[in-house]
Amino acid sequence: MQVMVHRRERIVITAIDVINELGVQALSTKRIAQMEGVSESTVFKHFASKNAILHAVLDTYGQFDSDIIESIQLKELACIDSLFYYTEAYTQYYENYPAITAITQGMDEMRYIDGLAPVVDAIKSKRRCFLMALIERGQKEGVIKPEVLPEVVADIIVGMVLASVGRWRSESFGFGLNRFCKVALQVIVDGIVINPLQQDVCAAVTKNER
């Protein structure tokens, strides 16, 4: 296995597992070395410090952000479909990789670690800004009510996913996260679209295409 997977990549994967099982505070280069079956000096060959490992963990956490956004643009999805695609891309990924949701929950804690606040803020800002842009687009297209504030809707959607992930984790991943968030997002969308009938048409067309 050592032949195929670079030690640096393994360290990041192990770090995510540690955070998932024990929390951000429990992460240490010593613990990672133990779990990897190597010396701490081997870990330091790849990462200068624990903070550097956490930086790489955050990079991994946000690695698909640009691709998901670009994918929506390439597919030229309607704005409501884009909202569902965007949310589902994450919740489906989280459902298949439960450990990564420890980072979702741990990001606020990571903000207080030296050098990580800008990284955390950049990830959150990028996701929020994209949601706001989708809402604004929907308003321009006459699909979303002009009186809703894009930043409010974006925060509601982000908050919904965060709360769902938190409950999912505390309930030992005992319900379908992706399905639950789709239902919850539909509730939000129903409240912001101008014409519910238009939304039903979009949903029916999308369902047929799937």
């Binding site: 994918s71 891309a89 990924y93």
Partner: protein, 131 residues
């Protein structure tokens, strides 16, 4: 003939099993690390996968890094052409940056999700894998 299905989504995985199962045996991996473990085990037995269906957005190690690791392995151990796997990249992400990065490592075909079964079968035919 042996295939490797690397896919974390249950529905897509079932579909791939159904199609590929008609033409040979297969192994399943639901994350990138598992995929490389299976790949290396196969190589160490002196065998190889005829085809790897590789999802991009996956737990632990994404499909592009898996692809790179496989191609690096093939180069490092100077594998003969018949020991090198055909790789079909499968993704719902469209031809975004990560897929463009993958092209630098060399995949043989790209299949967007949700994928068409007939397109996959055509690819198998094109790769001469319909034994």
């Amino acid at each position: 003939m042996r295939f490797l299905i690397v896919e974390d989504d249950l529905v897509s995985r079932r579909l791939l099993e159904k199609i590929l199962g008609q033409y040979g045996n297969y192994d399943l991996a639901t994350n990138g690390l598992e995929a490389l473990e299976l790949y290396q085990a196969q190589q160490e037995k002196g065998e190889s996968y005829a085809l790897i269906c590789l999802d991009v957005m996956m737990p632990k190690l994404d499909g592009v890094r898996v692809l790179k690791a496989i191609r690096d392995y093939e180069e490092k151990f100077n594998l003969e052409a018949d020991r090198k796997a055909k790789v079909i990249l499968i993704t719902a992400l469209g031809e975004s940056q990560i897929v463009r990065e993958a092209s630098a490592h060399g995949y043989d075909a790209y299949l967007p999700k949700p994928f068409d079964m007939t397109v996959l079968t055509d690819l198998l035919k094109q790769f001469d894998l319909l034994a």
